[in-house]
Symmetry: C2
Subunit: 211 residues, 2 copies
Amino acid sequence: MEHRSRAIENSVVVPWRQYESSALPPLLQVALDCFVEHGYHGTTIRTVAQRTGLSVPGLYHHYPSKQALLVSIAQFAMEDLLRRSHAALTEAGTSAEERLHLLVECLVLFHAHRSEVAFIAASEIRSLEEDARAAHIASRDEQQRMVDDIIYRGTAEGLFTTEYPRETSRAIVTMCTGVAQWYRRDGALSPEELAHRYVAIARAALGQSNR
Amino acid sequence: MEHRSRAIENSVVVPWRQYESSALPPLLQVALDCFVEHGYHGTTIRTVAQRTGLSVPGLYHHYPSKQALLVSIAQFAMEDLLRRSHAALTEAGTSAEERLHLLVECLVLFHAHRSEVAFIAASEIRSLEEDARAAHIASRDEQQRMVDDIIYRGTAEGLFTTEYPRETSRAIVTMCTGVAQWYRRDGALSPEELAHRYVAIARAALGQSNR
């Protein structure tokens, strides 16, 4: 019930297919660029400050530590993804077929458009301190459960014929989030074209006819 | 031709389904543990030396730098995976169906049994210096091409009916390598059980009947 009411509320305001070129607050964007280039542990707060044009105390005024920058980036990424996912499900309505379709579309669009933030969120989880790490894992679990719920229901309804709904759900989420590891904007497919194909692949993996 | 002769040569000696509990040379295993806990940039050569019981100069005698440790781990991982993959393909023979089956089995077994080394190889690619990074990416591309070749041939033969062989091949490799990100040995499925299910999922994704 909680998810549903959040989703309904969000659907009014979240254009989940739209991506601005830059969504992170500017200081976090600079920190993200540094983490992508040097890794979290290889980045110093001084480097981030220099690139932003702030002094180190000036940067600390906004973010009290390097850890706070990483936590904010990871939070931003997961909140953005979950908000978009709830909006996609609301648009989809109650049909398991449509819910799967829009949620896979949403996952692929996010991990193609936001590949850098998603890559850092995935590869630097171990660098998050305990509470932030637990919160991040809880958000990822929530995302996985959204897909699980659709697939369990669709399987129960006979829409999906897979013998392995649990593992197929994991495989689908992994192939969608994995887009962040290899997707390049100068590649052959736009995020939208890729999403369209991944929907077809996910449906096939679940044993659903494409017609 | 080169692959084929390498594969035949390997098939005699590579028991590709077997995993020893520890395969890395001991010094590399200690370095891997440190990289998993602290990241590459967060690990000092002193920490690695202390854990191995060597002095820093003693460690440098074996590996001249921290970078050499990471390069050796990444090389070890990719060589091990490619050797196993060629052996699996040799065992499979010429049938595209059997080649897909054994190669997916091989990919899942490796990423479940060797999840730590695979995770570091994937998340610290950016920490590899230029030549080592290029070599690592070339090995990953070779792995992807092995799957591509099977899927292109199976699609041409009508065995696989997917409209999107290229993207499905990428999705299959990503879901298999992604196992390293989430697989836990104390989970519900053994690596072998998981591999069995992933073979079924991959075949379904390609539009191949399970009968």
